[in-house]
Symmetry: C2
Subunit: 410 residues, 2 copies
């Protein structure tokens, strides 16, 4: 088995990319779906930004180092990685804040419809933000409908203004069929808003080709942009002339530096900027994107499928599925880049794995997630994680006292 | 004159603090009201954050390095600098996004009133955000009234839900009387929302003592937190039990990591978090606040008044006010920490000053701003700026071709 992992690594065309990341010695890091590892390019870029651009060039850097265009230029670097042509992607704020902008846009574009449709197990912030918007607008203007994923297509009707979905489920790793659901939504006149938090940077996407209306995504998971890296958003060109969003801060104004008394939205996706962007964090994300110039999304996806397949087969061949329930679809096309299992003592298991330096994460109430980042994870990583998991399940150390207390924040 | 500046610097108890900042050689930096200079403490803090916390400790840093509490802990460090007791200040998002949260809170708390009152020359993003909210809610639920500053008290009536004002005007440097206006607003049952962008870190504030309802402020001006540093917001304790805000992202939830299907607001000011915070930028701001532990706001204000006074007297004694119009009040209590002048060729003047390494900024259509940061600016800085300005006005080099073209972004 060790021979197989080693030979898969030896044949892996992406193996050389691991050197672009700073990974701690002796750690198997399988949590890039929560926080991507540190790309080596980031340290130098952040140091230059702080010490030279800010420290020496000070305020002039907004022009001389083009800080003012960073939300656009980082957006344009993300665009080809998600199948978007130019002028549609902007780096800004957080996913939560961007969801608010786009849900408001969607209700406005598709009025008098007032329904936001989503699934029961979507990532909480998506629903929470829809609830915040609905609370602000009142029931007469916004209603949220949540259905099981299996009932989505039947729930899609001419009431629906916006279908909002996270493509890859954060708990199970299961993917929605983006093409089918986008077409089904459009067939009843609904707009789609895709949350790409667990897709962007690891799953090839075709936003333009599928005629997706709007999307948001994350900078700190598979793009490795650092903790709390700014998020991105996508607004399809065909909506931009009519689209409006309510977080109309000065940098979304057509001419921010004329200081006009009234807001006039910038043309295109630029109007989705609100306030002054967090430049240091955005420069880190910008540097983290460099590695994507050396690889195609198809290569990343091929390795992602191979890693998750290897891991799932290992769970089976080691007999671990007698104890664990695998929640992630075995059909490759239906999963993202994580493998999730459930177990009554998942919290203890996660802590025992972390103690053994296999970094995974726990999601309440009983899920253990193994995230695979093809840019830096190897087949040997997957195998060592399997070995460690098997050993912990065998000796039941996850039941020991030190793994019992679960803090409120994980 | 040079002797006077030098002796004022020699007697300045804050002069030693200049060493805490990295300032480029030979530059007189008078633009800390746009972007504060780099505190030396920041480089090491950011390097540690990136290379050790993110790079080595990875996802565990949310707990082990308490990233999860940063919005609160940075907020609590800002609190005493603005006269706020604990549990009322949060570091989050941008001023624009925070204004949206708080204006919505204010309308909700003070319904059925629907009027947001402000002044005609408030900073644009404040009005723009109010316009975005009004556009979303519709006229029946939100109306914006803008009046000249001189008419504010007469415009305060029982229609007004929220009085929103920037304490120090970004163009003129003139201060509103926070106590008088807060009392006048409360007398008619209106809430007040103060924008402290040009006050926090340079003007002593007494939010609690004045019973201010809500406030926002900036991390990258007088707090020197770096380009696009996260902003902060204040919500008075007496409103927190009833306050609600619509950007209800997961980190504002009472228990974000239980992943409840429905949003339940966190207690206190924590509900004003929306998405995942930009940790790298927030750590820079946190380090920048260190220098405030060595000084009181009263000391800062004393030096701020002395610097602006010195500069304004210099404008007069050199005869420069025959050419320039000073827009900043001569009465110390009525101004912030900048001196603004107008001139038909202010753009050319600003560029000629910058070429001579006196960094100031221009604000359309005709304003030149000299910002004084008492933590690092000296009386010698002020004098050299005066000398340079006098020389440029005398030889009229600001009329030369190279200073004519004004780019769209400044």
């Amino acid at each position: 088995m060790s021979y197989i992992a080693a030979s898969l690594d030896a044949e892996d065309p992406l193996a050389r990319l691991r050197d672009h990341f700073q990974l701690p010695q002796g750690v198997i890091y399988l949590d890039g779906n929560s926080l991507g590892a540190l790309p080596r390019s980031v340290s130098a870029a952040v140091k230059d930004l702080v010490e030279r651009q800010w420290g020496e060039d000070l305020i002039s850097s907004w022009n001389t180092h083009d800080w003012i265009r960073l939300p656009t230029s980082v957006g344009e670097r993300i665009a080809p990685l998600i199948g978007a042509g130019p002028g549609q992607v902007l780096c800004a704020d957080s996913i939560s804040v961007n969801l608010f902008k786009l849900l408001a846009t969607g209700l406005d574009l598709n009025g008098p419809r007032r329904v936001i449709l989503t699934v029961e197990d979507d990532f909480p912030t998506d629903t929470y933000i829809a609830q915040g918007l609905a609370g602000l607008l009142g029931e007469a203007h916004c209603e949220i409908r949540r259905v099981p994923a299996s009932e989505l297509t039947s729930a899609l009707n001419e009431d629906v203004a916006v279908l909002m979905l996270t493509e890859v489920n954060y708990r199970s790793g299961e993917r929605h069929d983006m093409q089918e659901l986008t077409e089904a939504a459009h067939a009843v006149g609904a707009l789609v808003l895709w949350d790409l938090a667990h897709s962007a940077g690891v799953v090839p996407l075709e936003l333009d080709a599928l005629d997706v209306d709007m999307a948001v995504g994350c900078g700190y998971k598979y793009f490795n942009g650092g903790p709390g890296a700014p998020a991105f958003l996508y607004v399809n060109k065909r909506h931009q002339a009519k689209a409006r969003q309510p977080l109309s801060g000065w940098l979304g104004h057509r001419a921010p530096f004329t200081f006009d008394p009234d807001y006039v939205a910038a043309e295109g996706v630029q109007q989705y900027q609100a306030g002054t962007p967090a430049i240091i964090s955005m420069v880190a994300l910008n540097a983290a994107l460099n590695v994507f110039e050396q690889v195609t999304m198809e290569q990343i996806r091929t390795k992602s499928i191979a890693l998750t397949e290897f891991f799932m087969q290992g769970l089976m061949s080691r007999g671990l599925l007698q104890t664990l329930v695998c929640l992630t679809p075995s059909e490759a096309a239906r999963r993202g880049s994580q493998v999730s299992v459930s177990h009554a003592q998942s919290w203890g298991l996660s802590q025992a794995l972390i103690e053994a330096r296999v970094i995974v994460d726990f999601r309440a109430p009983d899920i253990l997630r193994f995230g695979f980042s093809p840019l830096y994870n190897s087949f040997t990583d997957a195998e060592r994680a399997l070995d460690t998991l098997a050993s912990i399940l065998a000796d039941k150390r996850y039941l020991q006292d030190r793994f019992v207390d679960r803090p409120t924040v994980t």
